[in-house]
């Protein structure tokens, strides 16, 4: 019995629970907008594109988050520009931009000797977070969460009916860039803790699960957050016993929740259809 409570005896585990839940909640809220806009791969693109920024920041002694943020946003803006000025579709433009930037990051990294390890960037480390990083991640997460929730009605309107948003004089382009900025910030924050490969999942799966379960948007936000927070707690707890990667366990639990929703969603689940 006592063995089951073991994970709660360690300070680093409690911190991991708290950060996993917080980062999961922020990513979940953003994932709702990404899923509804058909921007699911934007998370993928931006999270790969941050790499050259991180390496350059590490070379010049700037905070990693600043470099990551700039190059992530550059990828989003560059894809948008390519799409607007050529006949290419958005997914193609994005694919070219983010793989190019990721490769640039890899090349820069091989030329730059530092304590920056690809493993840390790709997979992160949520156990044993240095104090300053913990504070930085908490502050950024709370800010992003507050901004998205405050702007949610306008962001939803732009996603649902950009024409109506324009007819009402809403700044559609500015709102799009705001969403991209918040996305980049969330990726930068999560990346050092769960790694950039798994941030992608956290930015898609909760929204996808909630989409299957919800009929209203606020309900979708709530269900996405609940599934993400629950998955983070369960995933980290399980990882303690499996001695496995906490981030991978979180994403695995999220995927299982998604499958559950797919099969058992009231009225819409594959096994609930008469």
């Amino acid at each position: 019995m006592n063995a089951l409570l073991d994970p709660f005896r360690f300070g680093f585990m409690l911190e991991a629970f708290a950060m996993g839940a917080l980062l999961g909640a922020v990513a979940a809220v953003l994932s709702c907008f990404l899923v509804l806009r058909g921007w699911s791969l934007m998370g993928d693109a931006v999270s790969h594109a941050v790499l050259p920024g991180i390496v350059l920041a590490s070379m010049s002694g700037l905070p990693l988050a600043v470099g990551a943020f700039v190059s992530g946003l550059f990828c989003a803006v560059a894809s948008g520009w390519i799409k607007a000025h050529t006949r290419l579709k958005e997914d193609t433009a994005m694919g070219v931009a983010f793989t190019g930037l990721f490769a640039l990051g890899l090349v820069l990294m091989s030329k730059h000797v530092s304590d920056l390890h690809l493993d840390h960037v790709l997979f992160g480390n949520i156990l044993g977070i240095p104090r300053p990083q913990l504070i930085e991640a908490t502050v950024l997460s709370v800010l992003v969460l507050a901004a998205v929730l405050m702007l949610r009605r306008d962001l939803l309107l732009v996603a649902f009916d950009p024409a109506q948003a324009r007819a009402l004089g809403r700044p559609v382009a500015a709102l799009n860039y705001t969403l991209l900025t918040l996305l980049s910030l969330s990726i930068v924050t999560s990346m050092q803790l769960v790694g950039l490969l798994l941030v992608i999942a956290m930015l898609i799966t909760p929204g996808a699960t909630a989409f299957l379960l919800a009929r209203r948007f606020d309900e979708m936000l709530l269900k996405a957050v609940l599934s993400a927070v629950g998955s983070a707690l369960v995933g980290i707890y399980v990882s303690f016993f499996l001695n496995g990667s906490p981030a991978a366990c979180i994403v695995l639990v999220q995927a299982l929740v998604f499958v559950g929703a797919l099969l058992f969603a009231p009225g819409k689940g594959l096994l609930r259809r008469a």
């Binding site: 405050m150 306008d154 996603a159 649902f160 109506q164 007819a167 004089g169 989409f211 919800a214 948007f217």
Partner: protein, 307 residues
């Protein structure tokens, strides 16, 4: 004074295509005006210019005498999109969509006030969707889907309403319900512009027509604009003409004709090209008035020749 004005609007897309050239137009309140043209004639380009979604390469648009940007800020113009442009799987209810019409007047956080709720309820009742307000929008029938966006335009309380192809894929009952509503709005002094390629319904409910084909060919009262000559110019070869006096109908059946169509209402023209209305009430003297006009025109012409 309610006005919608385009001054020599030219729109050239980045691809180099000029979709609209020198289009000028001036409409004022209390009208239902049809915007008629083939696909690719610049209907949606004109709509987008009037709504301020795109900025004309040359020329300008003004609404109530003010620039478009100000009209947007004041929510003067409401827009009812085509059903195909909407993502019906979106997790929003009928009530949510209609509430979006009220965002313009709300504070930064978009928290609805009692007056917003009242306007939404009133609009939903007016289109007969109040009982379905909590439905997710994808759970509606085709006709109900259309009415949600009409309700949103009502909730926006704009006096100028633009409808993009409102009758495509809509059953006759819904079409008639929407037309009845548009007539009420006209009686209240609203300015309604409806883009359509469905010629037959135009004389039924539109008092004015704008014919468009890459530019505005002509506009004015339906009786004057909807002539075979103008329509041929607007539609080119794309219009199918069926002339009864050249068909076997006249000889066999003494001009007794019933025209049935499934979704598109046919445009029926009389012997010398006058419009035939489904309801003749109030228009009994149509033919004699027309003859009178023609006689006067002939007399004037003869008079001019004698001078």
């Amino acid at each position: 004074m309610l006005t919608l004005e385009a001054n020599q609007v030219t729109v050239t897309y980045p691809s180099g295509l000029t979709a609209l050239r020198d289009a000028s137009l001036r409409l004022s309140g209390g009208t239902i005006c049809a915007l008629v043209g083939v696909n690719g004639s610049g209907k949606s380009t004109l709509f987008k210019s009037l709504m301020g979604f795109l900025t004309p390469t040359h020329g300008s648009v003004s609404i109530n005498g003010r620039p478009v940007r100000e009209a947007q800020k004041q929510s003067w113009v409401a827009y009812v999109p085509q059903a195909e442009e909407v993502d019906w799987t979106f997790p929003v209810s009928v009530h949510d969509v209609v509430m979006m019409g009220r965002y313009g007047g709300m504070n930064f956080l978009r928290i609805p006030r009692a007056s917003d709720r009242a306007a939404v309820e009133q609009s939903l009742r007016r289109v007969g969707l109040w009982d379905l307000r909590d439905r997710q929008i994808g759970e509606l029938s085709g006709g109900q889907k259309k009415r949600v966006f009409v309700a949103r335009a009502l909730a926006q309380s704009s006096r100028i309403i633009l409808l993009d192809e409102p009758f495509t894929g809509v059953d006759v009952k819904t079409e008639e319900a929407i037309i009845a509503l548009l007539r009420e709005l006209r009686a209240e002094g609203c300015l309604i512009l409806v883009s359509t390629h469905n010629l037959g319904s135009v004389p039924e409910f539109c008092d004015q027509v704008v014919l468009i084909n890459r530019t505005i060919l002509c506009y004015g009262p339906t009786d004057e604009v909807f002539t075979p000559e103008n329509l041929t110019e607007a539609f080119g070869g794309a219009l199918r003409a069926f002339e009864f006096d050249r068909s076997t109908v006249e000889a066999h059946d003494d001009r007794q004709v019933t025209v049935l169509t499934d979704d598109e209402r046919p445009l029926v023209l009389g012997k010398r090209g006058h419009l035939e209305y489904r309801e003749r009430q109030g228009r009994e003297a149509l033919v004699s008035e027309r003859e009178e006009r023609e006689r006067a025109a002939r007399a004037a012409k003869n008079g001019a020749q004698e001078d």
